[in-house]
């Protein structure tokens, strides 16, 4: 604390330092901590009509959290969201790792700006519009069906929208950059001679990746998986647009509690369950990849 304060005092002087500290503290407290605490409080109280607020029934209870376990449909959607997000993460990783490796170690340096630009340009467009593009691509009378029928892969168009397949494909597309970039950053720092040395010592490509590249890229892989999983689990637009009643996402249930059921207490409890899931996933990833917070912040 002293180490941070003293240079700040020297550089900005006491009045400005205090002003900056108060402003950041106010931001954190009023904009982040307080609303969250309010939501925690909401989630721990039953929904009551205004006349009963503050009455004998307005007590703290865990009942809202229990609802999920007694509602088989909601629990099913919750588990499907977990499983779906994990699948999205796995598919995105499988797609991104070769891309990141190519960009970081194989692609000629002069081509790199073009290639990275091609990856980034789609992300200049809003997520909803990008998802909508997939809505068009995957439509029953859309170009993908037309192409596959034209090529003779399918005899007649197939319903691609409204199911899990469309949702997962859309999410992979929407979040792929959040996986490619951290892995690219990690692999980029790997000395090419390490790969050559392993190759020279007799390692084939599988062994080189398993023993040299992946261990080096682990922090990047962990960050990419964490980001992709959290974005997927918290995604609303993609399942809402590309999914259907059969492929509802947990975020849609939370939305319904808040804005259609008007039950903020229940919605807040569901939202916190999702948050706990995501934190749990982060901890699992860190354990699985044996990386610490400092590795990830690198």
């Amino acid at each position: 604390m002293r180490a941070v304060l003293e240079p700040a005092l020297r550089r900005y002087g006491a009045p400005l330092t205090v002003t900056l500290l108060v402003m950041s503290a106010a931001w954190v407290l009023l904009m982040i901590a307080l609303p969250q605490l309010l939501m925690v409080d909401y989630s721990l109280r039953p929904m009551l009509p205004p006349s009963k607020l503050g009455g004998p029934e307005d007590v703290h209870t865990l009942r809202n959290y229990g609802t999920l376990w007694s509602n088989a449909i909601h629990l099913g959607i919750f588990l499907k969201t977990v499983w779906g997000s994990a699948l999205v993460t796995a598919v995105t990783l499988a797609l991104s790792y070769p891309m990141a490796f190519y960009l970081a170690q194989v692609a000629p340096k002069r081509k790199l700006p073009t290639l990275v630009l091609m990856l980034v340009v789609p992300f200049w467009i809003n997520e909803i519009l990008r998802t909508f593009a997939w809505y068009i691509i995957l439509a029953y009378n859309g170009p993908l069906n037309a192409l596959l029928v034209g090529l003779g892969v399918w005899a007649e168009p197939v319903r691609l929208l409204g199911g899990d397949g469309g949702v997962i494909a859309g999410m992979v597309y929407v979040y792929v950059l959040f996986m490619v970039l951290p892995i690219y950053n990690a692999i980029e720092t790997l000395d090419r001679h390490q790969i050559e040395a392993a190759h020279d010592l007799g390692a084939g490509w599988i062994a080189i990746h398993r023993r040299i590249v992946v261990p080096h890229a682990k922090p990047g892989i962990a960050v990419g998986c964490i980001m992709t999983f959290m974005l997927a689990a918290g995604s609303y637009a993609v399942p809402a647009l590309l999914g259907g009643p059969q492929s509802r996402w947990f975020t849609e249930i939370i939305y319904n509690w808040f804005f259609e059921g008007g039950n903020w207490n229940q919605g807040a409890a569901y939202a916190f369950i999702l948050l706990v899931l995501c934190v749990g996933f982060i901890l699992l990833m860190m354990r699985l990849f044996r990386v610490g917070l400092t590795d990830i912040a690198r």
């Binding site: 050559e196 020279d200 010592l201 007799g202 084939g204 023993r211």
Partner: protein, 357 residues
């Protein structure tokens, strides 16, 4: 088991640049062979072609008689020691050394004993569980050697592996490398721009310049009998005098230079009228002017303990270096004094001007 390496008219082009031009030579099994040359001369390209990271544009590379075209680095009987060593920082020393065996599927127990045997060979018996980052520069060097030897290569390729070490350690490692080479009998191919390294360690040396081999031979023949002006200038120190050949007789050429007529050996058969350069080593210069006498002034004189190096300048501004052993007593060549120096015709060599470094 060591094997010989044959380069047969090997050429390597990168676009418009020819990095290696029509190189043919055979490196004997169990030989310590060095490629010596300035940076950019193509020596690293040759090494990368032998190890399999590059395929020559034309020509063939044969190891033990077998053509290596199309065979990847992981399938060749070679092991490469990189300039920056390229040890795996996330593995222990033991895992580094055992890596080649691990990817060949050698069981753990066997691997373990092989690693220990190699650690003993490079005099690091207790280092197996250490992290690479815990080791000193010289120790890392030995781990890199052990890691390369673990796969029992027929040919060990070394890409200036000593360049990152300090002078003392470098000299020590030279002796060590030579000893390891003798003990294992593996063919060593060593790349360096450091003539001291090449001369002290090698059985034979190839001096390279601009992608071409200028001369191949043992250290003494390259130093004493350079074939080209580049070799004479690049290997060791040399005084040089440019001029025109006046007459030739009995393998001796007389060269007219700005400091007068000088005599030297004429191994390339130059004829009167040819432009040429005469080279003579500083330690072959004599304090008395015998043949080839030169009058000069002493600019300065450095006492280096075992020997004395004097820099002289003739009236025409030609600088001369003279190297004499120090045998006690007063130092020769007091600064600013006049001196007469000379050299025997047999100690000098007259070569076509070519590409003197």
């Amino acid at each position: 088991m060591s094997r010989d390496v044959a380069l047969d008219r090997v050429t390597m082009r990168f676009g418009a640049i020819t990095a290696v031009r029509d190189v043919s030579l055979t490196i004997g099994a169990g030989e310590f062979f060095s490629f010596l040359g300035p940076s950019g001369c193509g020596k690293t390209t040759i090494l990368r072609m032998i190890s399999g990271f590059m395929e020559p544009t034309s020509g063939a590379i044969r190891i033990g008689g077998q053509d290596m075209r199309g065979i990847g680095p992981n399938k060749r009987p070679t092991a490469l020691i990189f300039q920056n060593l390229a040890l795996f920082p996330l593995m222990t020393v033991g895992e580094n050394i055992g890596f080649g065996l691990e990817v060949r599927g050698v069981p753990k127990v066997e691997r373990h004993s092989a690693v220990q045997r190699l650690l003993d060979l490079v005099a690091l018996p207790d280092a197996a569980d250490k992290r690479v980052t815990e080791l000193s520069g010289g120790q890392r060097q030995r781990v890199a050697i052990a890691r390369a030897l673990a796969v029992e290569p027929s040919v060990l390729l070394l890409d200036e592996p000593l360049s990152a070490l300090d002078l003392k350690l470098r000299q020590h490692m030279r002796a060590e490398l030579r000893a390891i080479q003798r003990r294992t009998g593996v063919t060593f191919i060593y790349i360096t721009h450091d003539q001291g390294e090449a001369l002290t360690m090698s059985d034979r040396i190839a001096v390279m310049n601009h992608g071409v081999i200028e001369q191949v031979g043992d250290g003494a023949s390259i130093y004493d009998h350079p074939d080209t002006a580049f070799v004479a200038a690049f290997v060791g120190e040399a005084n040089r005098f440019a001029g025109t050949v006046a007459e030739v007789a009995d393998g001796i050429a007389a060269l007219d230079t700005p400091v007068g007529r000088l005599l030297g050996r004429n191994p390339r058969g130059l004829r009167p009228g040819d432009r040429a350069v005469l080279f003579v080593r500083p330690e072959r210069m004599r304090e008395d002017g015998a043949e080839n006498a030169l009058a000069a002034r002493v600019s300065h004189c450095d006492f280096e303990g075992a020997f004395v190096t004097a820099v002289l300048e003739t009236a025409d501004g030609v600088r001369l270096q003279v190297h004499t052993p120090h045998r006690g007593g007063a130092l020769p060549f007091p600064p600013e004094s006049a001196a007469r120096v000379g050299f025997c015709a047999g100690d000098a060599v007259v070569l076509p001007p070519g590409d003197a470094a």
